[in-house]
C-alpha cells in the first residue's frame, strides 16, 4: 500500500515537474444525466489534449460540440464523469490554482447594477489583490479594453460589445498565467474584434498561455498557434494551423507587377513541366481589411476636422 502511494506521489510530482504543459486532459468525459440518473447527453467523450505554456490554443467546433463543457471542466465548474484534467500542474478541483487563471465566459455575466470600476474592484477583491494595486490594475485594464470613458456607467447600460470588453478586463485583473476565453470576439464589431485579437497576441508576447474557443474560424486562424477541432464531444483533429492547412499538391504564387504576356509564358512553362494551373486571378483583400481601412480613414478625417 505504501509502495502504491509512493508511486502515486512520485507520478504526481513527475507531472508537476513537466513545466512546459499548461493544460492536459486524460480521457476527459462528461455525460449529462437526467433527473432519474439516466445518461441524457454525452457532451464530451474521452478528450485528450495537451496545451503548451505560452501558446494560443484554439478549440474549434460547431454549436453544442462540447467546447464550453471542456472549459467548464477545466475550471471546475462542472465535474467529469470519467477521466482527469490538469491545469497548470494541478487537478481542476484545486481552488488555489484559479488564482493563476483568468476566465471570460461566453455570455457577459456580471452584476448589472455595478459600474465597470466596481465590477473590476469586486473581482479583484475575490483574488485578494490589495486596494492600491487593484485600483492601478483597474485603470490600466479599462484603458486597455477602451472602456475608460464609461467606467462609471452601470453595466446594464452597456452594449453587448462593451460587456465583452469588461469581460476581458475582469479575466485579466489577476494578471493570470493562463487565460481561458469562451467566444472572445462574439458580439464585437470588426474594430473590437481586431483589438481583441491584438490583445490576445499581446498576452502571448508576455508569455501567457491562452485557450480560446470559438466557431469564428477566421479569428482562430489569425491568432492561434495550434487548434483542436471537436465535434459531438469527440476530438476530430489537432495540430498547428500550418500543419492542418498545408496542402502539398497545390502551390500558390503571389506575384506583383507581372505583364499579361509574362503570365501566359509562366502558364505555358508550368504546362510543359506537367503541372496543372487550377486558377489564375487577381489577389483580393479580406472584407475585414476593407472595413478597417474605411473606418480608420473616416475617423482620421473627422479627427483632422475637429482639430
Amino acid at each position: 500500500m505504501l509502495l502504491l502511494w509512493t508511486i502515486v506521489l512520485l507520478s504526481g510530482r513527475a507531472w508537476k515537474l513537466s513545466d512546459d504543459i499548461a493544460i492536459k486532459t486524460e480521457d476527459l468525459t462528461k455525460a449529462y444525466r437526467s433527473f432519474w440518473g439516466r445518461k441524457k447527453v454525452l457532451a464530451l467523450n474521452k478528450l485528450n489534449i495537451a496545451i503548451r505554456k505560452g501558446e494560443i490554443f484554439g478549440l474549434l467546433g460547431p454549436n453544442g460540440s462540447g467546447k464550453t463543457t471542456t472549459l467548464k471542466l477545466l475550471l471546475g465548474l462542472i465535474f467529469p464523469t470519467e477521466g482527469r484534467a490538469y491545469v497548470l500542474g494541478e487537478a481542476t478541483d484545486d481552488v488555489a490554482i484559479k488564482s493563476r487563471i483568468g476566465f471570460m465566459p461566453e455570455e457577459s455575466c456580471f452584476y448589472r447594477f455595478l459600474n465597470a470600476d466596481e465590477t473590476l474592484d469586486f473581482y479583484g477583491q475575490l483574488f485578494r489583490i490589495p486596494g492600491k494595486e487593484r485600483k492601478l490594475r483597474t485603470n490600466r485594464l479599462l484603458t486597455r479594453v477602451g472602456l475608460e470613458f464609461a467606467r462609471k456607467r452601470p453595466l446594464k447600460q452597456y452594449s453587448k460589445g462593451m460587456l465583452r470588453r469588461i469581460g476581458i478586463a475582469q479575466a485579466l485583473i489577476n494578471d493570470p498565467d493562463l487565460i481561458i476565453l469562451d467566444e472572445p470576439t462574439s458580439g464585437l464589431d470588426p474594430i473590437g474584434t481586431r483589438e481583441t485579437k491584438d490583445l490576445i497576441l499581446g498576452l502571448k508576447a508576455q508569455g501567457k498561455t491562452v485557450l480560446l474557443c470559438s466557431h469564428l474560424l477566421s479569428d482562430v486562424q489569425d491568432i492561434c498557434d495550434r487548434v483542436a477541432i471537436i465535434d459531438k464531444g469527440e476530438l476530430q483533429i489537432s495540430g498547428t494551423i500550418g500543419e492542418l492547412l498545408a496542402n502539398r499538391d497545390i502551390v500558390e504564387l503571389l506575384i506583383r507587377n507581372l505583364s499579361k504576356e509574362t503570365l501566359m509564358e509562366v502558364e505555358r512553362f508550368i504546362q510543359e513541366k506537367q503541372g496543372e494551373v487550377v486558377s489564375i486571378k487577381n489577389s483580393s483583400g479580406t472584407l475585414e481589411d476593407l472595413f478597417l481601412k474605411i473606418v480608420q480613414e473616416r475617423r482620421e478625417t473627422s479627427w483632422d476636422r475637429s482639430d
Binding site: L75, C109, L114
Partner: protein, 430 residues
Amino acid sequence: MQQILVIAKQTFKEAVRNKILFILITLGVVTICCSVFMPVVGDGREKIKIVESMCFRSITFFGTLAAILLSASSIPTDIDNKVICTITAKPVQRTNIIFGKIIGFVYIIGVLLLIMGSVSYTLIRYTALKQGTQGSSRGLLAREQFDPVNLQITGDSAKKIGNVSWIEGGGKGASVWKFKGLSSKDKNDDLAIEANFLIEGKKRSTGRIPVKIKIINPYSARILTESMEVSRNKPLLLRLNGKSLDGSEELTIVVSPENSGDFLGIRADSLRIFWGEKGFGCNYLKGLTIISTQFLLMVVIAVLGSTFLSLPVNILFCLFVFFCGNITDFMRDLSTVINVIETSEHEHGISGVMQKSNVYLMYLNHIIKKPILLLSYILPDFRYFSVGKYFIDGINIPCKRIFMGFGYAVLYALVCLPISFLVFKRKEIA
C-alpha cells in the same frame, strides 16, 4: 474571511440597488403607522395592545418576506444570470459563497429591523403618551411571569388526551401546581394568578363550572381557599397581596372542579403567576432579538433551498416551511383535533370519546396524521420565536426564552448549513 465579506457586501448592495429592501421597508413602515388609526373599543391599554400587536406582526411579516424573497432568490438568480460562473471561476471556496450570502442577508435584515424597530418603538411610546398611561402599570406593561416548576395531576379520574389532562370534580381528581423562585422588587405589589382551563360538564350550555382553589404557602403553612367559576374562553383571575407570601419564594396551588361530572382540561401552561414589572424598552429589545433570530433561521433555510431548488420552487418551499413551522402545535395535536370532532357528536363527555373508534379516522391516522407528525419534528418550530403574545398580555420576556430561541436557531442552522455546503459543493454550474 475577506472573500466572505466581499460577497456579503455585494449581496447587500444588490438588495439595496434592486430596491426590494426599500419597497419592503416602506410597506412595513406604512403598515406600522396605519395601526394608530385602527378603531378600538376599550380603554387606553387596548389601544396600546393593538399598536403593539400590529407593530410586531408587521415586523415579523415584512422581515420574513424580506428573508424569504432575498435569500431564496439570490443564488438561483446568480445561477440563471451566470454571474456565479465568473465567481466560482475565481479562487473562491463554494462554502465562502454560502457564508458570504448569509452574512449579506444578515446585514439586510439588520437594516430592516433597525428601521422598522425604531419606527415601531417610537409609535408605541407615542400611543402610550397619547393615552396618558405611559409608565403606569396599565400602559406599557412588562409584567414578570412565573411558570410552575411542577404540575401533578392526582385522582383516579385523570385522563390524558393529547397534551390536555382532564380531571373530574367531586373529589375524584385535582391538579397541584408548585411555584418556586417567586420574587419582586416591590413586595407590596399584587401577585396575580391567571388560569386558562378547558371545561366539560353536564351543564354544557352554561359554559361555566365551579372550582375550588387552594393556595398553600409552604413557608408559613398558611392556606387560603377560594371558590370560583371557570368560564369557557375567559381566563380565571385571582389577586393576592404580595405580603401574604410572608417572604416565601414558594407557593403551591391546588385546583379541582367542585362537582362530580364536571371536567377540567389542564395543560402545563394553564396556570401562571404574575408579580412585579420590568422596563418596556428592555422587553422590546428582547422581542426584536428573538424575531431577528427567527429571520436568520429563515435565511439559512432559504439559502439551503436555493442550493438545489429553482427560484419559484424555493420561494414556495420557504413559504411552506414558514407556514408549517408556525402550526407545529396543530400538526402535533392533530390526534386531539380528530377526537374533538368526535366529541361534538357525543353527549356523554370525555369517557365516551375514549371508547369510540372510527375506521375512517383510523385511515386518516395512518395516511395523514403520522406523516404530518413526522414533518412537524423535521420542520423548524417557529413557536420558539413567537413574542407577540408577550406584548399583548404585557409580559416580560424571560431571558431563558431568548437563549432557547437562539440555541434552537443555532442547532437548526448547524444541521442546515453543512447540507447547504455539501449540496452546493457538488452542484454543477452549467
